[in-house]
Structures are given as structure tokens and as C-alpha cells.
Amino acid sequence: MTAAVGRKAALALPPSVNEASFAVAVRGVHKRYRAVHALKGIDLDIRRGEFFGLLGPNGAGKSTLINILAGLARLDAGSVAVLGHDVTRDYRAARRVLGVVPQELVYDPFFSVREVLRLQAGYFGLGHENDAWIEELLQALMLTDKAETNMRSLSGGMKRRVLVAQALVHRPPVVVLDEPTAGVDVELRRSLWQFIQRLHREGHTIVLTTHYLEEAEALCERIAILDRGVVIALDTKQGLLARGMDSVMFTVYTESPILRLPVALENKVKRRQGNELVLQLHRRDDAIADVVDALRAHGAVITDLHTEKPDLEDVFLELTRKDRRP
């Protein structure tokens, strides 16, 4: 999909598609908080079994959308359904099939890990028949030896793992993770992702918001980018990355710092530091050979050079920046 058609085409929804065929179906959702129009008509479909990324800068509306899904916020217009269950009209069924790992490290200081998980399962109508699954969760999340420990005494990383277990305690087919690795050390982050990937392999739909774009790039099959309450892109990871393909980062190392640049290259300088020069070139309009020739003609002795494809972060910045242009 090219960048030009990608934006609108990806947002258009076939009207005949049944909401129930999607893990999450968001239709024309508006949400206002007094003066703030947090969501401005969001349309989004997340397919069953998909690993879906929901990205966007702070204040884009990601958490508002997740809160609506989870029943923590009410929508002003539109509809949201989880596996075909409307989150307002049929909230009991919708919440039974959804597990949300919240962004904040919240916990109930009165209870132990096992008590927290048993209570959480109980709210969903599950009793002792669910205990085996709780044991499995404790084991998978390396919490077995902390099962009887009070939540207050756990480290931040352990509390985070309990949050994941709590979200999964009723075996929801759709799992939403709101910034699950914020402030988490590398080892735990890796083990959490292994666990989430296992869930995905087992057929769960995973919806992830994260600030670590490399995480989204590594894990998500499709990605939506939200900005100021609007979906500005919704595409496969490859499709999204292709949008950044117009530009190429070209890095040149020279024997000594270049004193004078060719005029034609001056406005392409991204970074210039000592012997290193980074240029942002246009994929079609700028020929690398011409650039090298021009530099040589100005006395530069090139010792090394390389080009880089833009990553998701470049695309993300490009898209959100573009969106801010008047």
C-alpha cells in the first residue's frame, strides 16, 4: 500500500462487516472531557488472534480508548464491541472476554498475591475450579514463591507481573496491555514479552500500547497510530514502514571535518559532528553517487559510508509531525 492511498483507504470500513467477526470493533467513537475532545470519531477494527499495536504520543487518546473498552470511561457517541459484545449494552459479556493490564502500578494493599487473584476470578463468577489456572499463571509469571506475600511487600516488577496475572485470571480471549513495560528492567521486559507471545500463539488477541516503538516493531502485526483523538494511520507493520521509504538516512565519515558543503546539500543536513555527516536524502530524487561526487569535489576524503532505512520511530515522528502541520 502506498503512502498516498494508505491513509484514507486503511480507515475505510466495509459497511457489511459484522462486528462479531472482530476481536475489537470501534465505530465512530467520540469522547469529550469538558473542553477536551479526546476522541474525534475513532474507527478501528482489530481482528481475532491479531497482535495489534496502538501507538501515539502522550495525550493522543490511547488510554481513553482503552478505558472505554474496559468500561472505565463512557463514550459520548459511537459504539465499541469486544468479540461482538457491546461494551455498554452488553457490558457483562464484553468484560468477560476482555483482560486489561493497566498502565499504573495499582494494587490492593490488604491482600496477598493469591488472594488478589482468587478475588479477581471471583468477580468474574469463577470459583475453585479456576485455582489450577491461577497456579499456572503464578508459575508462568514467576510468582509462585510470592503467592502468600502481601502486595505491599512486592517489588515494582513483581507488582507489574501480578497486574498481568490479574488481567488474565478469567482467561479472556482479548488482552489489552497499556504500556506494560514502562519502568520495567530489561530482563523482566524480555520475560513478559515471551509470555505475551506465548498467549498470542495460543490464540489470544493482543492489543498493545507502548512508548517503546522497537517493541511494537518487533511484536505487532498491525499498528494504528493515534494523534490528538484521530487515527492518523492504520496499517500492517510493513505497510507503515514503507511510508517512511521516501527518505533515506545517509551517513558519511571523512578523514577530516568537512569545512564547506556543496550548496545543494546544505538543506539536507540532519546532523554534523566532527568527521561524521548525516544527510536525509530523498529516495528517488537524490542519487547517492551524485552526493558522493559532490562531496569529493569539495575536497572531502570519504573513509566510510552507510545508509539506513527509516524505522518505525522515524515513520511515527514523520506522521505525527505531518499531522501537526497547518
Partner: protein
């Protein structure tokens, strides 16, 4: 109805206060006994409210009911505001529990705490002074209904308050004056006319007067009238609380 969900929330609310029983059960019993000791001792010889009833005996049901009401209020309000402030209320809000199940669990847990504390005061006081029991059913009915009314008030306060000091304000400026001015320590007949008339607008007065009737078979107003007022107060507060919960007032944005 999500019966097991309701039962779990009720169990969680009971477990919450049981785990800090020293503060939630024993402390209020001790406070009530201190009141009984000090006021009983000072006023025993000087005051007789009902004919043939010693002042200390008169005082016990008042103190019991005060403990019942205050603890019922404290249970629902503090549980709610704590979960709101620490953020863990979301674990209940994201579940299939309906607002009615939420309401019933919170009210019932608060009733249990109120009644347990009241029973504690009763048992401890019995050691000091024998107390007649005109009708255990009347005593129980007023204890349950009164604590249920205060539990709903606690939910309202817990929903409304954003900070602990707002809740403390609610407790100190509304609950405390209403309980103290309801005839815990005296019969309203001993008050000047103005205050007597004013007391009739205080639902807490009917809770305590009806409760006391259950022990002595004597009261300031008819127990049926008290029961009706308490029942109506509970019904009105419940309707308001249920509507606030249905709308997600200050808990669902």
C-alpha cells in the same frame, strides 16, 4: 445476576475490615466503653430518663447504636475512597459486576461490621450492668436498617470525596453532629422545645429511639413511626446511591 461475583465482593469487603480488626472492630468497642464508663459514672446519680431505668442502662443502647452507625458509615466510605485513591477500584469496575451487585456487597459488608461492633459493645457492657431486652427482633431490625442507611451514606461520601480530608469533613460535620444530637446520651424530652422540634427532623434520632425501644419497651416516639422513618431514609438514600453508581459518578469518567 452474577451471584458469585457479588459474593466475592462481599467476602473481599468483609476480609478487608477483618484483616485490620484491631482498628475496625476492637477500637470502636473500646471507645464506646470509655463513653459508658465516663458518662455513666458521672451522670448515674443525677439523671433518670425513663422511670425505673438506670442512666447507665439507658446509655448502653445509645452507645451501641452510635457505634453501629458510625462503623457502618466508616466501612463503606473508607473502603471506597481507599480504592479510589490507590486506584485499585478499577479491578472491580472492569468486571461484570453490576452497580446493584456492587451496592449490595458494600452495604451488606458495612452492616456486618456495624452489627458486630454493636454486639461487641453489648457483650462488654453486659459485664458491667444487666440490661433488659424487650424485643430482640426490634433491636436487630433497627441495627440492620440503621447501619444499611449509614452504609449507603458512606458510599455516597466515598464516591463524592476526592481526598481523605473531604471524607473526614463529611464524617465530622455531618455524621458526628447528627449522631450526637440524636439522643444517644439523653431523651429529647429533656431538651428545650426548639431542639426537640429540630430533633424530629434528624433521622438518626429515630434510629436510636427505635433501637432503644427494643431494649426497654419505652421510647420518645412510637417505634412504628421510627421504623417508617428509618425505612424511608434507607430507601431514599439507596435510590440516590444506586443512581450515582449506575452513572459511575466520579468512578467512571
Amino acid at each position: 445476576m452474577n451471584l458469585r461475583g457479588f459474593y466475592t465482593l462481599l467476602y473481599k469487603e468483609l476480609l478487608r475490615f477483618y484483616k485490620v480488626g484491631f482498628q475496625t472492630l476492637l477500637a470502636p468497642v473500646l471507645t464506646a466503653l470509655l463513653y459508658l464508663f465516663v458518662f455513666g459514672h458521672v451522670l448515674e446519680e443525677h439523671v433518670q430518663v425513663f422511670p425505673g431505668v438506670r442512666y447507665t442502662a439507658f446509655l448502653i443502647p445509645g452507645l451501641m447504636m452510635m457505634a453501629v452507625l458510625q462503623n457502618a458509615f466508616a466501612n463503606s466510605s473508607s473502603s471506597l475512597i481507599q480504592s479510589k485513591i490507590t486506584g485499585n477500584l478499577i479491578f472491580i469496575l472492569m468486571t461484570p459486576l453490576s452497580h446493584v451487585e456492587f451496592f449490595l456487597a458494600f452495604v451488606l459488608a458495612a452492616v456486618v461490621r456495624g452489627v458486630v461492633v454493636g454486639a461487641g459493645v453489648y457483650l462488654a457492657a453486659l459485664v458491667v450492668i444487666p440490661l433488659p431486652l424487650h424485643s430482640a427482633w426490634v433491636v436487630l431490625a433497627f441495627a440492620v436498617l440503621g447501619s444499611a442507611a449509614l452504609a449507603t451514606l458512606g458510599i455516597i461520601a466515598g464516591l463524592w470525596a476526592d481526598k481523605f480530608d473531604q471524607l473526614a469533613g463529611f464524617q465530622n460535620f455531618i455524621i458526628m453532629p447528627l449522631t450526637f444530637l440524636s439522643g444517644v446520651f439523653y431523651s429529647i424530652h429533656s431538651l428545650p422545645l426548639f431542639w426537640q422540634t429540630l430533633s424530629h427532623f434528624n433521622p438518626f434520632f429515630y434510629m436510636i429511639d427505635g433501637f432503644r425501644y427494643g431494649f426497654f419497651g419505652v421510647s420518645d416516639v412510637s417505634p412504628l413511626r421510627s421504623f417508617t422513618v428509618v425505612l424511608l431514609s434507607f430507601a431514599l438514600l439507596s435510590a440516590l446511591t444506586l443512581e450515582l453508581l449506575r452513572r459511575g459518578y466520579k468512578i467512571r469518567s
